[in-house]
């Protein structure tokens, strides 16, 4: 077994790293130094070149120019295999564990040399000895699919240590964890760097994690290194300025005073519906959303939020219970949605709210193409009217597109979301159902999209916001529910919301 945790951390340095794809410079002359045993954070927006940099380091890309030094000596890394041999490992944002294999099977099969016939008695003995030296305790005999997200992330890190890696790149390691789990995982990794067993380079966009755990930080913008330094010397504002430069950021409208006597627009009572596996069900006892408020639903993904959204959107049949919109039973037909002004912004908008190969204009007109100005159905679709309507919305919502006739799939993520917002937020909106609206979008798009949602709320819409990003919920919501194991387990008004309590409920500890 190659794994030992008597590993000694190694220091890694890049010098003048550049990567060009044709005429596009993804990475220009980036030099960063990560000394042995340090915890280094790499900050930057989407597309700033963070993953390009680490992919060059890990041998996935061959940099156009630049060198890598390990412990001060120049090395050639031509493939991921070379990187592993030098002790460099990476934990990806998306899990690379095989769901149907157990933890032990995952660890053993990922080894460089696996015997033809595996002697499980011997392997189990060695794994137990290895796990004794680990700071995490994990069940290795259950299928990975049955582990919680936090446990999976720990197993990913353990796998790298088991393989004998002493320099780890963590790619947004906490994006799927509860605040408590994130604290625990990063704290343990931090302790290992302190002990000199590991060097860590963490890609992140969460400032509070960077300030809490990292020693040093490097910031990338548009492929350039825009700043680097000790974390203690920098405040959030300085880091944010390095990340986004001087581009304008949309500001959130001040929150209009909520009216406790406002009409309850959405009412869900005793709802029961099967979840994706069909083995469990989601149960919503009582959920009401008033006009002019944002109700946030927090929870780790896979706890029934997606199913709830699908039921509200009419994509999933329900076993029992009722959904009322403004007092009328709501089954999410097109006619009902139109009459009651219900609008929907699902997660992954390109996949769930667009027809990717149809044009921007057509996608923007999905709600209105078949009615005329007075809401009467039309028998002939007017291409001119669709073009004029969508041109106005593209202008108004600042959707960047080459032309109205481009397929919507050719737009960037932020612009797809802007186009969907344009479609959903135009006209009168009484109920807006939103799920993870900012996932994977850059700083300015995030700020703008949140501002639009707040505007809709202030204009009197009832907003139900499901998000895996707790910061987003705390910023936007008037009340927060926590969803865990298919049920709403906790409710708090925003004034009394505490991240810790919410996190504990998300983890199901109550």
């Amino acid at each position: 077994m190659s794994a030992i945790t008597g590993n000694k951390a190694v220091g890694v340095e890049t010098i003048g790293m550049s990567m060009r794809f044709g005429a596009f410079t993804a990475l220009g002359d980036v030099s960063i130094k990560v000394p042995a045993g340090s915890f280094h954070a790499l900050l930057g927006e989407n597309g700033a070149g963070k993953s390009t940099l680490v992919k060059c380091m890990m041998g996935f890309y061959h940099p156009t120019a630049g060198d890598i030094l390990i412990e001060g000596r120049e090395v050639a890394i031509a493939s991921p295999r070379d990187a592993s041999a030098l002790g460099l490992g990476m934990v990806y944002q998306h899990f690379t564990l095989v769901p149907s294999l157990t933890g032990a099977e995952n660890l053993v099969i990922s080894r460089e040399k696996v015997p033809g016939v595996i002697d499980w008695r011997k392997e189990r003995g060695e794994l137990a000895k290895f796990m004794d030296r680990m700071p995490f305790k994990l069940p290795l005999d259950v299928k990975v699919a049955e582990l919680a997200a936090g446990e999976k992330q720990k197993l990913e890190i353990i796998k790298q240590l088991y393989l004998g890696r002493s320099f780890l790149v963590l790619d947004e390691p906490t994006s799927v964890l509860t605040p408590g789990e994130a604290q625990e995982v990063l704290g343990l990794v931090r302790a290992m760097t302190r002990a000199g067993a590991l060097t860590v380079l963490m890609i992140s966009h969460k400032f509070h994690e960077v300030t809490a755990f990292a020693d040093d930080v490097s910031v990338l913008r548009k492929g350039r290194l825009t700043g680097t330094g000790r974390v203690v010397d920098l405040d959030r504002k300085a880091m944010a300025a390095m990340m986004i430069g001087d581009q304008p950021i949309a500001v959130l409208d001040s929150r209009a005073e909520p009216r406790p006597d406002a009409e309850i627009v959405l009412e869900v009572k005793a709802l029961k519906a099967p979840d994706r596996t069909g083995l469990k069900s989601i149960r919503i006892e009582d959920l009401g959303v008033r006009a002019g408020e944002i109700v946030g639903i927090a929870g780790i993904s896979g706890n029934g939020q997606k199913e709830l959204l699908e039921v509200l959107a009419g994509q999933r049949p329900r076993d029992a219970g009722e959904i009322m919109v403004r007092g009328a039973a709501y089954a999410a037909t097109r006619a009902e949605a139109r009459a009651l002004n219900v609008r929907l912004i699902p997660e992954e908008p390109l996949k769930n709210a667009c027809a990717p190969k149809m044009t921007v204009a057509e996608n923007i007109s999905f709600r209105t193409f078949d009615i005329d100005g007075n809401g009467k159905p039309v028998s002939w679709i007017s291409a001119g009217a669709i073009r004029a309507f969508s041109a106005r919305l593209v202008e108004q919502f600042k959707v960047k597109t080459a032309s109205l006739a481009s397929p919507i799939a050719s737009l960037s993520g932020g612009n797809v979301q802007r186009a969907v917002l344009a479609r959903e937020l135009t006209g009168k909106v009484d109920l807006l159902i939103v799920s993870n609206p900012c996932f994977g979008l850059d700083f300015s798009a995030v700020a703008e999209i949140r501002a639009r949602i707040m505007q809709a709320r202030n204009a009197g819409a009832a907003v139900l916001l499901m998000s895996e990003d707790l910061d987003e919920l705390l910023e936007l919501s008037d009340r927060i529910f926590v969803m865990s194991d298919g049920a709403l387990v906790y409710e708090t008004p925003i004034a009394q919301a505490s991240v810790q309590t919410i996190g504990e409920h998300m983890a199901g500890h109550h």
Binding site: P80, H94, V98, P99, E105, I109, V117, I118, W120, L279
Partner: protein
């Protein structure tokens, strides 16, 4: 007891014997398909492979007078079909199900073309072991006349069940079938693994075909398979991709297939035709019972195009 008239006891006995006799091709095809599907591909072409294997085995056995050479030739032909499927499917935007249907028709058509001259001659059969020799009741003897391939299939399903957990090759097939990304991160090439898995699956289906033409029914005709290759694919899903489950399900299907002949043998003269349809009805019932609009299949390999 009268040795020739054991009355209604003949029905369960004939079903047992029939199950053993009829199930063997199901066992081989479904184990082959289980290997292929565990690696993340579906090969619907196994029906064609089965028919072509039957023809090849029969033809080679007629020409060489050795059923074992026929069996080997069928396995080799099946391997070629499997590798061909695996090779085409590695290209982007190729759909494995469409290719499978094409190969199913291609395999059958090719078998009919080459098989014409072999419809008349008689080939030597594969040997059977008379486990029923202790009894002097002919029905018992007939039921317990077990072909060696059935025994090999039983052992093979045990070996595969063990190998999926305890060997490097088994784990690699499961990794590739469940997550291409994870496989690539480990430095495995999913296409190569699937190519081999589809090849082995094809070879096993070829062996299943050899059993059809060299033991039961024991001659080469164009209607030899009657969809058994396709039913074996359904059976793999029913068995949740577990080799032991495949074996049990194959026995069940075999028993259903033996229902018609069993009833006929005890003198039921009316309506037994209906029971000939039993395996097909069973397939339908199983597919309906195991399907659900709201729930994904438990145990399905994650990379399979029907579950992805």
């Amino acid at each position: 007891m009268d040795a020739t008239g054991i009355g209604l006891w003949g029905v369960p006995l004939a079903i047992l014997g029939g199950a053993i006799r009829v199930s063997t091709p199901f066992i081989f095809v479904s184990l082959g398909e289980a290997i292929t599907e565990r690696s993340g591909r579906i090969n619907l072409g196994l029906e064609g492979t089965l028919v072509f294997g039957a023809m090849t085995a029969y033809a080679v056995a007629v020409m060489t007078n050795s059923p074992w050479l026929g069996l080997l030739a069928a396995a080799a032909a099946g391997l070629c079909f499997g590798l061909f499927h695996g090779w085409i499917c590695k290209f982007p935007k190729v759909n494995d199900i469409a290719i499978g249907i094409a190969l199913m028709l291609f395999g059958s058509g090719l078998a009919f073309f080459f098989g014409k001259p072999f419809i008349k001659p008689k080939a030597p059969n594969l040997p059977a072991i008379p486990f029923g020799a202790w009894s002097d009741i002919p029905q018992v003897q007939a039921a317990l006349d077990v072909n060696v391939l059935f025994l090999i299939g039983a052992v093979l399903s045990l070996v595969l069940w063990w190998a999926f957990r305890n060997t490097r090759a088994g784990l690699i097939v499961r990794v590739v079938g469940d997550s291409s990304d994870a496989a690539r991160a480990m430095g495995l090439n999913p296409n190569t693994v699937r190519l081999i898995a589809t090849g082995v699956g094809g070879a096993l289906a070829g062996i299943g075909g050899a059993y059809l033409s060299l033991y039961y029914p024991g001659s080469w005709t164009e209607r030899i398979s009657s969809g058994q290759g396709l039913m074996a694919v359904a059976l793999v899903i029913f068995a949740h991709w577990n080799p032991l489950g495949c074996f049990a399900a194959a026995l069940l299907f075999g028993g259903a297939g033996a229902l018609g002949p069993a009833l006929q043998s005890v003198g039921v003269t009316q309506g037994y035709y209906l029971f000939y349809a039993a395996p097909y009805i069973l397939t339908l019932i199983i597919m309906i019972a195991t399907s659900s609009p709201t729930r994904s299949l438990a145990g399905a390999p994650g990379e399979l195009s029907i579950t992805r």
